[in-house]
Point group: C2
DNA sequence: AGTCAATGGTCTGGTTCTGGGCCATTGCCG
DNA sequence: CGGCAATGGCCCAGAACCAGACCATTGACT
């Protein structure tokens, strides 16, 4: 086995606050939390929520602005607006990215599977409030009417929503984290019509099981759904 | 639901590197990774692994030394040695601690359940190497022959071992994290003989299922095992 | 047109953390 | 006994980061 303190003595802080912040914001956009043209929270609030000083946040925003990912407007009703669109999927890129990840891919896939199936099960187990059911349904409907451009973004958003309705903050954070680690790969997968159809069917099954309180069903549906992309990504590794 | 970016815009860095480091080391000890008299890794190596400068680590060690948790010896074959023993369980203390945690308790329990049942399932699913089987058996045997003093420490170590043999670094880190959050509570639960017997039975069932590759059984056994302490802790909340 | 609140822009002093070099101590080993 | 290697002890210059104050701009509302 590993040496002493394997998982415990991992890094206390992840590199550099500024770079980490850039990544976070970029991931938020890539995960579909913010679409093209959406406004990020005000600097003061965002800095507070990220636990960094406003200066550091501004440095990150400056860098994102320079990269053309956001646009900043002053004055009341101003703010920081997203001007980023996902790059088109590219299988060559995907192959390269998968190779780069190496052994980390298997780790990330396992982590995702455990967290997302667990989240689905917990969501089904606990009785959801009216509001939560509505939230889930809205996310599903949003996804089903999505054009190809928005599909991947709204797919992330849908999966995140399941974790959120469990009410477990840690679980939602974990799912978001695991999604972030796989996101570039998932986004590089071309969105084909028959894939969408297949996915949609599974998404509906997941939501139905969760809303019906079908614990085992929710887990199984989620597992099946995740197996698809997992197999695809693993395929690029062989 | 939450506002925009719920789980994404959580704090980038957890407070202060020095305090965080103190906690980490203390948790490593409380989790049973290091027993009384064990030597921590050398400062230079530990600083590297924790991702902090040696000075910051030393500050943390100084503080632990002042608190009497470790003892430092210079020279070759010197190092930092653990001189900490778990305080005796105390139900009054437990009640207070549970109240202090509030809603966070439910979150932590859910997180733990998802991760540990998931880890057990993954461990059962993947074929374990001879070495991994041995590792798991050693941890179990170690736990079963433990005196009451060592029981809680070795129990943590056993549960951590299951996550480790999944081979998923993230999963192991997650389990360690969730254990850390509940650790003070778990340690405050008195260790009664009949509880030990009950737990041991469940531990054996978990290991047997994992070694036999019984995926569903491993999950179920783990779930049952965790349900006990969860119910107990929830009881103190009502 | 004027007001005002919300927002980004800028500055400054202070704290924490880093990275690296160098010294001091200790006990094994030839 | 003397060398040596591993370890902790110490110090410093500079970078990163923070907390807070204050300024500048903008557009809706009256």
């Amino acid at each position: 086995m590993d040496w002493q303190g394997g998982a415990i003595f991992r890094p206390v802080r992840t590199g550099n606050a500024f770079e980490e912040t850039v990544q976070r914001i970029l991931e938020a956009v890539k995960l579909g939390v913010f679409g093209y043209g959406d406004r990020l929270p005000p600097e003061r609030e965002l800095a507070l929520r990220l636990g960094i000083s406003r200066e550091t946040l501004r440095e990150a925003l400056r860098s994102l602005q320079a990269a053309g990912c956001v646009q900043v407007r002053r004055g009341r009703y101003g703010g920081t607006f997203v001007t980023y669109r996902l790059p088109p999927p590219d299988l060559g890129e995907l192959r390269r990215a998968v190779r780069d990840m190496g052994a980390e891919l298997e780790d990330a896939l396992t982590y995702r599977l455990v967290l997302e199936t667990g989240a689905a099960e917990q969501a089904a187990r606990r009785g959801l409030t009216e509001q939560q059911c509505g939230y889930l349904r809205v996310r599903l409907a949003e996804l089903e009417t999505a054009g190809p451009d928005d599909y991947r973004r709204l797919d992330s958003r849908f999966h995140l929503a399941i974790a959120e309705v469990t009410g477990s903050h840690s679980l939602a954070a974990g799912v978001a984290e695991s999604r972030m680690r796989l996101n570039d790969l998932l986004n590089a997968i071309p969105v084909l019509d028959r894939n969408i159809e297949h996915s949609s069917h599974q998404h509906r099954a997941m939501v139905e099981a969760i809303l019906a309180g079908d614990v085992a069903g929710a887990r199984r549906a989620t597992e099946e759904h995740l197996a698809g992309t997992a197999a695809l990504l693993r395929g690029f590794l062989g």
